[in-house]
């Protein structure tokens, strides 16, 4: 295998006035799981579609498994597996028939039963795809991406729109891929998904990668603080909260503050002094470590789901 599974260099793609990819540069190493993390419209899907050859970049260079699209496009497609954001399937074909169909497009294919079992759809093998639930459809889409012993797997928002149980089902599949040492590039706007499943995370916003590292490194790099969240009853005293001891940063969302503290006991003491003085009343306090959500907030000034 090549040194890099995917290499994207200075990718540009524009739709009218919108710059969907604005100088995107990153590489995915073999055996690595890398996530493109960002809100809707950040340019994640455009980047993946350019890598898959579904869209022609305006500028930039993309190599997949050491090859470029064009003359070697079929060769690339024979070695990759892809789950697109919107999965179009023949609605009246059963799960098994769809897996068999896609298997025959590739020179090398896994047995249908094995793939169906891997995504936990054995009981639905004879069910038409139109009768599957959203989570089952997503798992089927992942199954179709795995049917050809792919060297590289692309998953575009595999858990978007799924209920928590269905999301966990897809996560299990991703964890299995991780254990198997597969190279995966997937997009998501769920922080916890990126944190739990990825080796590295590329944070995207407005068509650019604004941070790229392991989740832990990103958090440590941007936050030494601990987050203190609570719900304020009444009008919050913003200035006095920001002036609390050891608070380096404060965020308000829907009137509810998040304080980032380098010394939680000192900050808490100051907080309770405000309560005692009658300047503050609050409930539902949470003390937690900083997350990728906080990193995104610091880098962009807004939450990812905003």
């Amino acid at each position: 295998m090549n040194q890099t599974a995917v290499e994207v260099c200075d990718l540009h793609k524009r739709y009218g006035d919108t710059m969907a990819a604005d100088g995107v540069t990153f590489a995915v190493a073999p055996g690595e799981i890398l996530s493109l993390l960002g809100p809707n419209g950040a340019g994640k899907t455009t980047t993946v579609e350019c890598i898959l050859g579904l869209r022609q970049p305006d500028a930039g260079r993309i190599t997949v498994l050491g090859m470029e699209h064009g003359a070697r496009s079929r060769e690339i497609k024979a070695r990759i597996g892809a789950q697109l954001q919107t999965t179009g399937l023949y609605p009246r074909l059963t799960v098994r028939e769809l897996v068999d169909l896609f298997a025959c497009f590739f020179p090398r294919a896994r047995p249908a039963d094995e793939v169906i079992e891997q995504v936990g759809l054995q009981e639905k093998a004879k069910t038409p795809s139109k009768d599957l639930s959203g989570g089952q459809r997503q798992r089927l889409a992942v199954a179709l991406a795995l049917v050809n012993y792919p060297d590289l797997i692309f998953l575009d928002e595999p858990t978007t729109g799924l209920d928590p149980q269905a999301r966990r089902g897809v996560w299990d599949v991703l964890r299995e891929l991780k254990r198997a040492g597969k190279t995966v590039l997937f997009t998501t706007h769920y922080m916890e998904e990126a944190e739990q499943l990825c080796d590295r995370v590329a944070v995207m916003d407005y068509g650019q990668i604004i941070a790229l590292d392991t989740p832990e490194a990103l958090i440590n790099q941007h936050f030494q603080e601990t987050a203190i969240e609570f719900v304020v009853l009444g009008e919050p005293p913003r200035e006095r909260l920001a002036a609390l001891p050891s608070v380096t940063q404060m965020l308000f969302e829907d009137g509810h503050p998040t304080l980032y503290s380098t010394d939680v006991p000192r900050t808490m003491a100051g907080l309770f002094e405000l309560v005692t003085a009658g300047a503050l009343a609050f409930k539902d306090m949470t003390v937690r470590q900083a997350t990728l959500e906080d990193v995104f907030l610091k880098l962009t000034g807004r939450r990812i789901r905003a």
Partner: protein
């Protein structure tokens, strides 16, 4: 080749498992053919609604009328007689296509060996019926002229059809059926499924596999040809049923009408 076979089977499964598609592609053309056959197939030929105004009280006018009623072309004529105003009003209403007025002095003129002028009224707004009607009337008057002048027929037409091979039922059926099949295939059998696959992002999903557009197209063509043949079989089967029923006299005239008109 295995990709084409797999896609062919996929198309077949998608088609046969969708009752609405089966209905639209295979059964609706039959229903349409029957429907339009019943509406427009009420006879094989053209019937000229001919209005006669006999202002001549003599023998010539009466003989002309009798000759019309007994002529070979009588079965193509719908004869209406009446007064001039009555017939011209019928022409205005479209109830007759052509009106012939036999003049008052017809018998007298013929007896004197002088030509008589026969007025012929038609509506140019209805060019087809008027054109056919005028031609027919000219032919009738020409025949009448010959009969009145006792002139022998020196030139006789002998009609002979030239046929390179005996016409079989299938030669008769297939062109029309192919036309219907192609029409339906284009509208419902090809365009609709392809648009659905494109809108449903199926084609997009296939485009990230090594499948080539040529292979996809070959499978589509193979399946559409099969659907066309299926349509032919259904149409021929329906034709056979209706013809058999008619020849055995087991059904009413409507079945015969179907056999004669729909299957043309």
């Amino acid at each position: 080749m295995k990709e084409i076979k797999a896609l062919y089977l996929t198309n077949a499964r998608e088609f046969l498992r969708d009752r609405m598609t089966v209905f639209l592609v295979l059964l609706l053309p039959v229903a349409f053919a029957v429907f339009f056959g019943l509406i427009f197939g009420s006879g094989s030929g053209f019937t000229l609604q001919l209005g006669i105004v006999n202002e001549d009280g003599g023998l010539a006018g009466a003989r002309f009328l009798v000759s019309l009623e007994t002529s070979e072309t009588e079965k193509m004529l719908g004869l209406h007689t009446g007064a001039r105003t009555e017939m011209l009003e019928a022409l205005n209403k479209g109830e007759v296509s052509v009106v012939i007025v036999l003049p008052q002095d017809l018998t007298a003129s013929l007896a004197a060996g002088e030509p008589a002028t026969i007025e012929v009224f038609y509506d140019p707004a209805r060019p087809t019926s008027a054109g056919v009607g005028l031609g027919l009337v000219r032919n009738l008057l020409s025949e009448a002229n010959l009969a009145l002048s006792d002139s022998p027929r020196l030139l006789v037409v002998e009609e002979k059809s030239v046929q390179t091979h005996p016409l079989r039922a299938i030669d008769f059926h297939v062109p029309g059926l192919l036309g219907i099949a192609l029409l339906w295939l284009g509208l419902f059998g090809t365009a609709m499924p392809l648009v659905q696959q494109r809108e449903g992002q199926v084609l997009r999903r296939l485009s990230v596999t090594p499948l080539t557009p040529t292979t996809l197209l070959a499978a589509q063509v193979a399946w559409r040809v099969t659907v066309g043949l299926l349509q032919e079989v259904v149409q021929l089967w329906k034709s056979t049923i209706s013809c058999t029923l008619q020849s055995r006299g087991l059904t009413d005239a409507r079945c015969g009408l179907l056999c004669y008109t729909v299957d043309r």
